[in-house]
Symmetry: C2
Subunit: 361 residues, 2 copies
């Protein structure tokens, strides 16, 4: 049975560019947005790549997202700024605001930008990879639609609120950290439901607020648990990190925070009230030579990477990975072999093709 | 049976000041260092307060710590700096470097300082409370002596590497986040050993690298597990956060990182090699008005705090806390009732008193 079809990255990229262009999105913006999605697929983060195109199109169809935003800096100092994204695609506003952070870093040593009135921005990691291209240490965070319970909470109050940061090596590939602040990705709950398998302790609660082993119990009104899962294993820490991301991205910029963060998809619940504009992101960039000689820094990163690779393995494992290893390996493979898409995603892309009259296959 | 004795905070503070002064530490530095320790005790973080005084004294006795350091900025931009701590007490160098970060924030919008050639700096939270006094958002991180295994590692490679950040409210008390990036504090392993109780899954491995339920197994050559504990619950995330703290604090400044971070106490293993100077800290400070009107920010923080307090509780709990609640409540209690010290700590302080000829009781 065929479960997936494989497409070259460039083919998918051009399709996405033409789809976004069909909504009146300027060519350069469409190319940037497509790149964010395709890099996600290349790096093996299938949930955040072209699988989301249909949802972006839904929002554009309903005019809930502005196809031609004019992002602006509404307040700034030499090393900080707040950006209003004019309700554009996060895939366009995010890269714009990230460039502001990087430019400030180049002139003031570091740059920190909080963004409001924006929408979902793809993978947090894309932005820190951009910073690496300019020899900067990049940081990236965003708040997202509620899906996660605080420790001891019985309902969704926070998003999966990711944190990304990357550090370049000299001969070694960079350390690329990109993590959601919940214990497990929502996609793993969906997979368990599809396979009719129970989920382990520490992943989720159901609509009553109690820990559940039934994936459907989480999906139907339950919530994911924060990183650390329960009090005994540090669930208060994952909760606190998620709140940190929420404040930096949304409270600092004037976006909606916590349970009031607007939904990404049409079928999701509309928040009880509005406390700001759109969702929020937070970007940082730091010049390495604002701290130390960049070559010396990178040499030490190489040493650190090699030292950690030589860690004595936990029995039954091959030893620690370096953050970013799995994504880099996926990218090397998929650049050659293409990007496999499961059939429901292919069907979605065909529907997008029909709706926009952009040829798919 | 008396298990602890209680002392007023001011009494302990003056004792610590005089003890540090007896080592030739200048009065202002001794007062700062004492404040860091006493605030830790007041906030209920007993492991990082006066319980550590004897260890600081050990290091001063052996001249491993410079009592009269001259910290200096060795490189800077308008918003970044690297500080060399001249091998002073972290309790002195940390506050000095944190002030550099705060001053840069006041002039450039934000300030980011990486510190090398320093020593253990107390609780990460003290530094972000200082930032609150200047109406700044403060960040604080440090690397520490190895105690934690990377995910899939079978040995100690990273410290408990904490992250702290705080956000002020208007009428509500601030959100104060201060968390170690491991699943559980070492102190909990020690308590389990004292009580001869097993420890749960997900806390620790033994010297063979396998998960252990025996606290002695962790203490005698084992390691703590990172936040998230295992692959299924996101242990790669806690590991990545610990590595992030290590790089920002130590690689960026030129300090020792990972398994080469020097020991805090005499009985701890000497690292295999030196890759820098001392341990490392990382401080950040951001002007709120570099992003948004401070009063509006604080009003939103109040709203966020009240919203999260109203979260439907997980059954069997009283609902979520706000990060910083337990420490603030401990401080309110202990400012009135005094600070309880367990008898082994009292004995340590008496030994310090004999050694330094500073009267204790």
């Amino acid at each position: 049975m065929v479960e997936s079809l494989t497409y070259p990255a460039d083919f998918l990229r051009e399709f996405v560019v033409r789809v976004f262009a069909s909504y009146g999105i300027p060519d350069e913006d469409a190319r940037t947005a497509a790149d964010v999605l395709i890099v996600s697929d290349l790096r093996g983060i299938d949930s955040h790549g072209v699988a989301r195109l249909v949802t972006y199109c839904d929002m554009l169809d309903l005019k809930r997202i502005n196809p031609r935003p004019r992002p602006s800096i509404v307040r700034e100092t030499p090393s900080t700024a707040t950006v209003d994204g004019d309700n554009g695609l996060g895939l366009v506003v995010g890269p714009w605001a990230n460039r502001v952070a990087m430019s400030k870093a180049e002139s003031a040593g570091s740059g920190w930008v909080s963004v409001r009135n924006t929408n979902h921005y793809g993978i947090a990691g894309w932005y820190v990879l951009e910073a690496l291209k300019r020899d900067l240490i990049g940081w990236s965070m965003t708040n997202t639609t509620k899906l996660v319970a605080p420790l001891w909470g019985g309902e969704r109050m926070l998003g999966t609120n990711p944190i990304a940061i990357a550090f370049p090596g000299l001969e070694e590939p960079p350390i690329v950290i990109d993590l959601a602040t919940c214990a497990v990705a929502y996609g793993k709950i969906e997979i368990a439901r599809r396979k009719q398998q129970p989920i382990p302790d520490g992943w989720a609660i159901d609509a009553s607020g109690s820990v559940t082993h039934d994936p459907a119990g989480m999906i139907e009104g339950g919530a994911l648990l924060p990183l650390g899962s329960d009090r005994e294993h540090g669930g208060h820490k994952g909760y606190a990190l998620a709140m940190m991301v929420d404040v930096l991205s949304a409270v600092l910029s004037g976006a909606n925070w916590g349970p009031f963060t607007p939904p990404f998809a049409l079928r999701q619940e509309i928040p009880a009230r509005s406390v700001g504009k759109g969702i929020g992101h937070f970007f940082g960039a730091m010049r390495i030579d604002g701290f130390v000689e960049p070559e010396e820094f990178k040499r030490q990163i190489d040493d650190l990477i090699r030292t950690f690779r030589k860690t004595r393995p936990m029995p039954g494992t091959a030893g620690p990975l370096i953050p970013g290893d799995p994504e880099r390996e996926a990218e090397a493979r998929r650049r050659v072999d293409g990007i496999p898409l499961v059939l429901p995603v292919v069907e979605d892309l065909r529907r997008v093709s029909q709706r926009t009259r952009v040829a798919f296959d």
